[in-house]
Symmetry: C2
Subunit: 257 residues, 2 copies
Amino acid sequence: MPPVTTRSTPERLSRPQQVAEAIKSWVMANGWGPGARLPSEADLIARFGMAKGTIREAIRILEAQGLVKSRTGPGGGVFVHQVSDARATALLGNYFYFQQLTIDDLYQIRAALEPELAASLAGKLTEGELAALKEVMSAYVRPAEDAEEERAQHIASLRFHALLAEFSDNPLLRFLIRFTATMLSDITVSRRLYAQPNHELWSSGLAYQSRLLEALRAGEGETARRVMAEHMANAQRLMRLQESVLTQRFLPEGRVL
Amino acid sequence: MPPVTTRSTPERLSRPQQVAEAIKSWVMANGWGPGARLPSEADLIARFGMAKGTIREAIRILEAQGLVKSRTGPGGGVFVHQVSDARATALLGNYFYFQQLTIDDLYQIRAALEPELAASLAGKLTEGELAALKEVMSAYVRPAEDAEEERAQHIASLRFHALLAEFSDNPLLRFLIRFTATMLSDITVSRRLYAQPNHELWSSGLAYQSRLLEALRAGEGETARRVMAEHMANAQRLMRLQESVLTQRFLPEGRVL
DNA sequence: CCCAATTTGTTCGTATGTATC
DNA sequence: AGATACATACGAACAAATTGG
């Protein structure tokens, strides 16, 4: 195990932070993956020559970053853990808590990424995957009757995009589509958007997604790209009428589409 | 201050985690912004009725997320803090530590976002901003003579994109351009790409960026979009020849473009 | 320059909770 | 049920850093 180097860099790190960094680079150096068990608390105390509290704080830091998880009892200990989607989403969401992120900002990103996703998936989806997408769509084939139902349908339609992203083999693209969809769905939950049902958003969205599925099945990448681009432009126009600024709030970690 | 609700949800949270969440929603409820001071350690111990270690671990969790910073001494304490770019980048970088993110994955995102950025900035930059971009370019007007210099130039050219992104008023777009550029620059540092100077990447990149600046100054959005798209496609083609998979490593927090 | 007050940072000893055998 | 191996939590004391007199 590499020693804790007391670096004299711009910002002096507290001891727990030093220990956390040391453990991180130790894991990296040894190539340990998810499931690998770190030395026990007692071991770490002995190895680092520090008190229990200090070591525990270090572990808490790693845990907050989603890199480790600890279990009590025999066979327990601290284990390397793959950062979960929910954790990564929540952590990045924190970053935007203090920045004014508008619906337009989110749609500018979606308008750029979603068509690319559609194009890259054309002809690559199995019948089962296409069926799963249709299944999600079934939640909003019927027009919403009240605001509450409309809200639920909007979230379901966002889930359509999140599911579509799952089929991409680009982890960054997957994450970003999910992240933007999660942020948008968070708005509809926190603010009571949709004072009255928005039939136009519903019917046009459904039509676009149907045409999209056909293009995907037929392997027509450029058609899929164009349909999705229109879908985004249309949704952006309709959403813009509703509200403009996101509510300031921390994303609860549970909510991922 | 709201009480710590012992939620019986799927995953039971440890006490420090509960406290951290309680403080978070407390900050949110009171609308406290960066600079606001949380109650002192002693206060928190009294309010939560918990031991010092427990409270400290909670604060460490928030600190790891970049949400607070603490200072010692009189006038010190724990302060609400805006999550920094570097912290957000490092935290999201952790997420991709265990996922195989390829250069192609990064370029698929860049190819979608950078042209959109260019288009949205056309005609909106001041002469000073255009000059700053030219200043960055000056670091690589001269062909690199060895691998080391080539590496430095490549990073400088990534900084060109990061700086361009700073001029966008879309915080998410800013972040994503910076993030992808940082990830790419991290490769050139960790792996010794560029066994020999790559004159083609150098000269073509410089030419594209020059044409881009002209389009931006002239306010020709669609031209800027097209030039950037070609720039990305070209760079992706040339990079693909070099290496395909990112090295597994945690992003050091300092390195942000 | 030193001293005192304030606040976080660290240590140690002990006790409790929890899961496994 | 009981013993074991672990993390979790508590409390009191001490150390270090910062500010102001």
